[in-house]
């Protein structure tokens, strides 16, 4: 197994409050790693340490390392802006910009210097195809993205991430605002995407974690309780707390 990323002795603080305690977690390449746990357990915070999105929040502090291809992303010579090109992110609420579908997808490539119209067009098309949205929007690429349904918006956001050609995609409860049909489309898409990308997904839907992930890690109160292959976590967890959570005794 090849690790795309690995957190080592990672602590995280909001002001004086410690939110993550000594997290050690590998993220395998071209696999889906799910982060599960009750609300406030630190899974989203951990996810945001992987592309340094927490940097934009004032008065936060990271101790420890996150290695990406064996390079610590918190080293002083790492530019978080460059990092975020390689590690894309999908948020809980679909957040398309209030511009056209085309311009949404082209936004990332454009800021990274692609001006050639044909190249942009190809990128938009291939990204929308990879996100399984092309057939639904190909006739209205220049309509506002805000006119799409929630499920379409979330796939649009994924296409927008793909257009930047990242190596990893982080997803923060991407299906929590979607209806069941949109959710199953999204899950199918995630399974599809792992062939080319390394995916880390936060979810509090345990069935979803079981359905789509290869590895699952269980967080509780800012600590990583257990990490293993998904089928092991859900059938034979080592820790009592994990078992209690996945059998629905709390959460």
């Amino acid at each position: 197994m090849i690790n795309k990323m690995e957190a080592k002795h990672l602590d995280f603080y909001y002001k004086d409050t410690q939110a993550l305690f000594n997290i050690n977690l590998p993220v395998e390449k071209n696999a889906v790693t799910a982060l599960i746990g009750p609300s406030g357990c630190g899974k989203s915070t951990f996810l945001r340490t992987l592309n340094r999105m927490n940097d934009v929040i004032e008065k936060t502090k990271v101790v420890g390392e996150v290695l990406m291809d064996n390079k610590n992303i918190y080293d002083p010579d790492v530019d978080p802006v460059e990092l975020r090109k390689k590690v894309g992110m999908v948020f809980q609420q679909p957040n398309p910009f209030p511009i056209s579908i085309f311009d949404n997808i082209a936004y990332g490539p454009r800021i990274h210097g692609i001006k050639n119209k044909q190249k942009l067009q190809e990128l938009v098309e291939s990204s929308l195809k990879s996100a399984a949205l092309w057939d639904e929007v190909k006739d209205r690429l220049h309509d506002s993205a805000l006119g799409l349904s929630g499920g379409q918006q979330q796939r649009l956001v994924i296409a927008r991430v793909l257009a930047v050609e990242p190596e990893m995609i982080l997803m923060d409860e991407p299906a929590s605002a979607l209806d069941p049909i949109s959710t199953s489309k999204l899950e199918e898409l995630v399974r599809e995407l792992k062939n080319n990308y390394t995916i880390v997904i936060v979810t509090h839907n345990m069935q979803q974690a079981a359905r789509i992930s290869d590895y699952t890690s269980f967080f509780l109160n800012g600590k990583l309780i257990e990490y293993d292959q998904t089928n092991i976590i859900f059938t034979a967890p080592r820790e009592k707390q994990t078992e209690d959570y996945i059998t629905g005794r709390f959460g």
């Binding site: 999105m53 894309g88 800021i111």
Partner: protein, 299 residues
């Protein structure tokens, strides 16, 4: 409380609020009627076009000449000048406050900017007269520092708080999810601000600009003190000008109520009222249009 009472109570409040709202509209309407009634005489005497496009304003000559063009141009020059100063600086400051400054610095700066709005206009005029105009006189080697340029500068500073605070509200109203989305795509903070935040906030920024202009065109005391007050069409920004507001304030004391000069000043009032009305109307139209665009197609 019994049900019937609650019903009347609810209705009573509804009518009371409608009355309050209606009163303010009525007052506005009455002001316009009054202005027009007092000013209509001059339009009848010299003709509307002659009054508006007349190039000379000589109320004391024999016979007196009333042409409002020098004042209209004066007001426009000074207002546009103030806008050129207040709008870019105001939006720039708002961008700094909303997107760059750390929280505690932002609070301090906002308090200072709001303090600027509380300074009486006569104080601005005084500072313009005593401090600014000698500097401008020396700097540009002029015979007098009291001119359209100085007036624009003073008015620009006076309009700044309006532009800043409304622009800042507009920028803060842009959802954080846009910022996060942009940053997560590997955009820098600057790229995010320029390409996403400013376009998303643009109807609010336009409103801020228009209100700033409205503030500038209506200001009286400060311009009266620093604009130089010559009733001539200026040939450069360093010529003295007289604005509509300043003219009314300066001459109202010497008129006879109901006389021709008195009517002419009210005629100026009608023109000023129409100008601000048009500015507000444009703001509203642009506002409605851009918010449609935000819901609809493109930035």
């Amino acid at each position: 409380m019994n049900k019937k009472f609650v019903k009347y109570y609810e209705k009573g409040i509804k009518y009371l609020l409608a009355l309050v709202a209606g009163t303010s509209i009525l007052i506005l309407f009455l002001i316009f009627i009054f202005l027009f009634k007092e000013g209509i005489g001059i339009f009848a005497k010299v003709g509307i076009l002659n009054f508006i496009f007349g190039m000379e304003w000589l109320p004391a000559s024999e016979p007196p000449i009333f042409g409002a063009m020098p004042m209209i141009v004066g007001s426009l020059v000074v207002t546009v000048g103030a806008g050129i100063i207040a709008i870019p600086f105001g939006i720039g400051i708002a961008m700094f406050l909303a997107e760059v400054a750390p929280r505690n610095l932002r609070e301090i700066l906002k308090a200072i900017i709001e303090l600027l709005a509380g300074i009486p206009s006569v104080v601005y005029g005084f500072i313009g007269l005593i401090v600014l105009s000698p500097i401008i006189k020396d700097l540009f080697n002029l015979s007098s520092g009291l001119n359209a340029f100085t007036a624009s500068l003073v008015l620009g500073i006076m309009a700044l708080p309006t532009v800043v605070s409304i622009s800042e509200d507009a920028l803060n109203a842009v959802p954080d999810s846009y910022r996060e989305a942009s940053l997560a795509l590997g955009a820098t903070k600057w790229e995010t601000t320029i390409r996403i935040i400013l376009p998303s906030a643009r109807s609010g920024l336009l409103a801020a600009s228009m209100l700033g202009l409205g503030r500038a065109i209506g200001e009286t005391m400060a311009v009266l003190m620093v604009a130089g007050n010559a009733t001539i069409i200026p040939h450069s920004v360093f010529d003295p000008v007289r604005t509509i507001t300043a003219d009314i304030a300066a001459e109202m004391g010497e008129t006879v109520q109901g006389g021709t000069h008195y009517q002419a000043l009210f005629g100026l009032g009608v023109i000023l009222f129409s100008m601000t009305f048009v500015i507000n109307l444009i703001t509203d139209l642009v506002f409605a249009k851009t918010s449609n665009i935000q819901r609809g197609a493109q930035l």
